[in-house]
């Protein structure tokens, strides 16, 4: 089993729902994003082109971050999800540098508030209790592993049942994201990759990402 995601760039409208829902559900501190939407513009009027690229941790099979981590804080689970054990992280940021997708963020300061000088709000306080992110460590997307694990335990279908699906997939209003098992040839993600020639970012680095893009 290897969890993976397919993102349909043709469907994505750049609404940032994935980014915001991820930030909200994991109570991410200011300046920390696990999921992002990159929007670029090129050319000049009247031939301007706009490209939208939703990005997140690629949960690579040959993850550079796992190899370079000097403490073993970053590991890859059997199901392919790359996780960080914050208790083992020393904050050297070698993983952050080694990731060619820049999917990781160093969480420097826990005192940072969303409204500077006004103290943390009740929502921030509760969020920090539910989802404590250790300051001065590196953090990144975990494919909502708590939802997947919980759903799996309760016999739900991961990627199909909403309670067993990453929050960014659920939040996408145009169903641009699909989640499932890459090792299962009949899964929705495998079919999409095969039928629509799914591509990964920077294949030249040999990291074998688990996030595919279709056009």
């Amino acid at each position: 089993m290897r969890w993976g995601m397919v993102i349909d760039r043709k469907k994505c409208i750049g609404c940032y729902s994935c980014m915001i829902s991820c930030k909200q559900s994991h109570a991410l501190p200011p300046e920390v994003f696990w999921s992002r939407v990159l929007i670029s513009e090129s050319g000049s009027y009247p031939t301007v082109s706009k490209e939208i690229l939703p990005v997140l941790c690629n949960h690579c099979r040959e993850a550079a971050c796992v190899r370079v981590c000097p403490t073993g804080a970053t590991t890859r689970r059997e199901d392919g999800i790359v996780i960080i054990d914050a208790d083992k992280c020393v904050g050297c940021r070698y993983c952050l540098i080694a990731c060619p997708y820049q999917a990781r963020t160093y969480h420097a300061d826990k005192r940072k508030e969303y409204w500077p000088g006004q103290g943390i709000t009740e929502l921030e306080r509760v969020g920090r209790e539910i989802y404590p992110i250790q300051p001065r460590t590196v953090t990144k997307c975990n494919f909502c592993m708590e939802r997947i694990d919980d759903g799996f335990r309760h016999g739900l279908q991961v990627g199909i049942d909403r309670d067993a699906t990453p929050i960014c997939v659920n939040a996408c209003p145009v169903v641009a994201r699909t989640f499932g098992d890459l090792d299962n040839a009949n899964s929705n993600v495998s079919r999409l990759i095969k039928e629509r020639k799914g591509r990964v970012l920077h294949p030249q680095y040999g990291t074998e990402p688990s996030v595919y893009y279709i056009e």
Binding site: S40, L53, R67, V68, P70, V90, C92, Y94, I97, P100
Partner: protein, 295 residues
């Protein structure tokens, strides 16, 4: 860079050079300078230079490295993965070098240090000099770093800096023979460093599009004053002038103040070059088809 350019155009790494990242820049410099000094000093059996090199590596280099970490008290965990991580290997090398170096210097207080110990300590000193280059070279997302020439450049610069510092110590203590011998090392290493730096920049320039942008940033972009004033003029041209004069007239005819200034400039040039390599390390854009102008 505008917000929407991020990751769609070449994006600079910032964690190892901005804010507290400055400490890592200094850590790599002092660790390699200290180990380089120790390495050179053992060849000339100069205990004072060995001690100074050891102290630079342990206090300035090690200290800056520890301060950079988010959780310095967990530093012992760093040595747990030497099989895959260059940071882990590097800290292991530094640890062995510091312990063996201390034993070596301690033994020298009473008698000759055993040759085997001197050789093993020197091997670890050399590994300490080389590991920073390999740690950066391993990052394949940054074209400026992902070249086999980078570790070689760092080794030459570490030993060159070490030779310069040992020469300074020789001058300060009046060890004329030592100064004459080391000056030859400095001359050879300086020429080697210039050739390597040129080959390194040219090879990156013609390697990848992102590498081209990185080199352009260094030589003619935002950072050109650092490159041409600090690295080239101060760090290379001035020392070349001094070593050329000493080659012609003999080092004993060169004023000590000129030699001190030359070595100080050499170290400033080395430090500046390392800054540029860290600062201009760019990631390739995520969408290769995206157009970004490269002239």
């Amino acid at each position: 860079m505008k917000l929407y350019d991020w990751m769609v155009k070449p994006t600079p790494q910032t964690e190892w050079i901005e804010r507290r990242g400055i400490l890592l820049w200094l850590a790599f410099f002092f660790i390699e300078l200290g180990a380089g000094t120790f390495f050179v000093a053992t060849f000339f059996d100069n205990a004072l230079a060995m001690l100074i090199g050891w102290l630079i590596c342990a206090l300035l280099g090690g200290g800056a490295h520890l301060l950079y970490l988010g959780h310095p008290f967990r530093f012992w965990r760093i040595v747990l993965r030497p099989q895959t991580s260059w940071i882990s290997r590097g800290l292991t090398f530094v640890g062995f070098f510091l312990i063996l170096g201390l034993v070596d210097m301690g033994l020298r207080l009473w008698a000759e240090s055993p040759l085997a110990l001197v050789i093993v300590t020197d091997v670890f000193a050399f590994l300490v000099v080389i590991y920073g280059g390999f740690a950066m070279n391993y990052v394949n997302g940054i074209a400026l770093w992902n070249t086999a020439l980078l570790p070689i450049l760092y080794v030459v610069s570490g030993i060159w800096g070490g030779a310069g510092l040992t020469l300074c110590i020789g001058l300060a203590t009046g060890a004329t023979t030592l100064v004459i011998m080391i000056e030859e090392w400095v001359r050879i290493l300086l020429i080697g460093f210039i050739i390597l730096l040129a080959v390194y920049l040219i090879s990156v320039r013609y390697g990848t599009t992102t590498g081209k942008v990185s080199v352009r940033e260094i030589v003619s972009g935002r950072w050109w004053p650092v490159m041409w004033f600090l690295v080239v003029s101060l760090g290379l041209v001035l020392p070349i002038g001094v070593v050329s004069s000493s080659f012609v007239v003999g080092i004993e005819h060169i004023s000590a103040a000129v030699l001190y200034i030359s070595i100080f400039c050499e170290l400033i040039g080395d430090l500046s070059m390392r800054y540029l390599i860290l600062k201009c390390g760019l990631y390739s854009p995520l969408i290769p088809s995206s157009s970004y102008a490269v002239s």
